[in-house]
């Protein structure tokens, strides 16, 4: 293991952290603007041109706010819970190929931190650990509403992990590899080779489950808005609350990358055009998260569980069985 490798890896980690922290901030701006336009408003307008500096204003506000630790909370756990959410989101990104490999100044760069051969398992597994953020945060808060919200969000996350896992099994059976790079290379032949055409059911199931895994509307039970509190984050203030937010938005970007790579061909043959197509696909999926939030109300917890266990899971299992039969003959 040489020094160049270590320096390269650290550089990649820093770049990913900086880019996606910034994108998480910008994501809140996009969300406000998109929601505003869909509701015939202007959204943030006053800070900077088109309200672009609103992100900076929010950042300054979050960083300089007093960090309140309420009485009766379990202090170390209360403090560490937001860090878990943000950290697991970024840890999961270690196995995502963000961009095809390219050569800059005679040096070939692989824009993936760790090209392990079980990439997708690692990404989903570590993303699933993100559930400890809301869970521990709610349980340590000494607040009944936080606790209820924590239990509810944990139930949602665990249930929908089943859907993500099962829906992915069918495409993985076709590809025969768990590496995201291999999955991308399987679809290298262009738009007709995309897995979405052979696995449309798995695509829709995974997409639905992605909303639950990131805790977005219509599955936004994580912070239940109609209780007029912020769910598990009720007792949090300042940057600790902001870390939950960064984790959520980073997760939205990373899951968009995962959907685009697995089902929509990823970066294709690795040319610049393919790379920018990947970014466009990710942008579409991110926009779709916001679009759904503007267009749909939240569903009730029991409807959510009904959808998971009585509709989506049987469909996912059927999809696997059908895929298996088709592959056998």
């Amino acid at each position: 293991m040489d020094v160049a490798f270590i320096i390269e890896t650290i550089a990649k980690i820093v770049v990913i952290l900086l880019v996606f922290s910034a994108l998480a901030g910008l994501g809140t701006y996009f969300e406000r603007k998109v929601l505003a336009f869909m509701q015939r408003r202007l959204g943030p307008m006053h800070v900077g041109p088109f309200g672009l500096l609103q992100v900076a204003a929010d950042g300054i506000k979050l960083f300089t706010k007093e960090d309140i630790i309420p009485q009766n909370v379990v202090k170390p756990i209360f403090k560490i819970a937001p860090v878990i959410t943000a950290a697991t989101a970024f840890m999961a990104s270690a196995a995502i190929p963000f961009w095809p490999q390219f050569t800059a100044f005679g040096y070939t760069v692989h824009p993936i931190v760790a090209d392990i051969n079980v990439g997708i398992l690692y990404v989903l597994g570590v993303m699933a650990i993100g559930l400890y953020g809301p869970l521990l945060g709610g349980m340590a808060s000494a607040n009944k509403w936080s606790l209820i919200s924590a239990a509810r969000s944990a139930a949602v996350f665990i249930s929908y992990e089943v859907i993500t896992g099962l829906s992915l099994l069918a495409p993985l059976m076709m590809v025969g590899s768990l590496s995201l790079v291999d999955i991308n290379n399987y679809q290298v032949g262009g738009i007709t080779h995309w897995i979405v055409w052979s696995q449309p059911v798995a695509f829709v199931l995974f997409w639905i489950a992605a909303f639950a895994e990131t805790g977005r509307t219509p599955f936004h039970l994580v912070a239940n808005d109609h209780e007029i509190i912020d769910g598990f984050g009720t007792e949090y203030s300042g940057m600790r609350w902001g870390l939950f937010f960064i984790g959520e938005y980073a997760n939205m970007f990373f899951i968009s990358f995962v959907i685009a790579i697995i089902f929509l061909g990823g970066f294709g043959d690795g040319t610049i055009a393919g790379a920018f197509q990947l970014l466009l696909k990710v942008a579409f999926f991110f926009f779709f998260f916001l679009w759904t939030r503007a267009a749909w109300p939240d569903v009730r917890p029991d409807q959510l569980m009904w959808l998971c266990w009585k509709v989506l899971m049987p469909i996912a299992v059927l999809n696997i069985v059908v895929t298996g039969i088709v592959m056998m003959f």
Binding site: V74, L121, Y122, I129, Y132, L136, A154, L178
Partner: protein, 192 residues
């Protein structure tokens, strides 16, 4: 060298985490430390090149098993310390030490007598998950299928135990109906 550093780092972290799990009287510390310890164990699999087992360790133990423990913890007031009932600490200590020695002996004995052989060495052209699959579906097929049947039995049992009155939604009923449901409940009803 990096492997050695990583090994000792994660070994120390794992031991510290599980020590906290055992020693603390605060339930939330215990569950957080145990979840973290499970993740640190996965580091050993990654160091050994067993990526698949490492990822599975994270998913199964931290993602699923610990999350179920966390659900169990919802029944406690987690912000208060757990008061343990220690009637006879000496016996607990002696039994604990004996059990620890026994576990260490069980794992060390084959290593000391050089009786451990790598029956399925890593092959260059085969990936990690493929190698696991081959062993699982050849040598260990029967235990694997038995475990699958056991899990299926457990799942059906769980559904049967928890599935009573599942066709009624408490959120959709008004208060009188919920209250009258308890005394008017007959085991035979529900077939419609």
């Amino acid at each position: 060298m990096f492997e050695a550093i990583a090994f000792y780092l994660f070994a120390a972290l794992t031991i510290v985490m599980f020590t906290i799990t055992v020693m603390t009287s605060q339930a939330l510390y215990a569950i957080t430390a145990m979840a973290a310890g499970m993740i640190f164990i996965s580091a050993f699999f990654f160091i050994l090149g067993a990526d698949f087992l490492g990822a599975i360790q994270i998913i199964v133990y931290t993602g699923a098993v610990m999350a179920l423990y966390a659900f169990g913890m919802m029944f406690f007031d987690t912000t208060r310390d757990v008061v343990e009932k220690r009637t006879n600490p000496q016996i607990v200590f002696v039994l604990g030490v004996l059990a620890a020695i026994m576990v260490v002996a069980i794992f060390v004995a084959p290593v000391v007598s050089n009786n451990i052989q790598a029956l399925y060495p890593i092959q260059e052209n085969i990936g990690n998950s493929q190698a696991v699959g081959m062993v699982l579906f050849t040598k260990y097929l029967v235990p694997f299928e038995l475990a699958a049947v056991m899990l299926l039995v457990a799942m059906i049992g769980g559904i049967v135990l928890a599935g009573k009155k599942m066709d009624k939604s408490l959120t959709l009923m008004n208060e009188e109906d919920i209250l009258s449901m308890d005394d008017g409940f007959e085991p035979q009803e529900g077939g419609h």
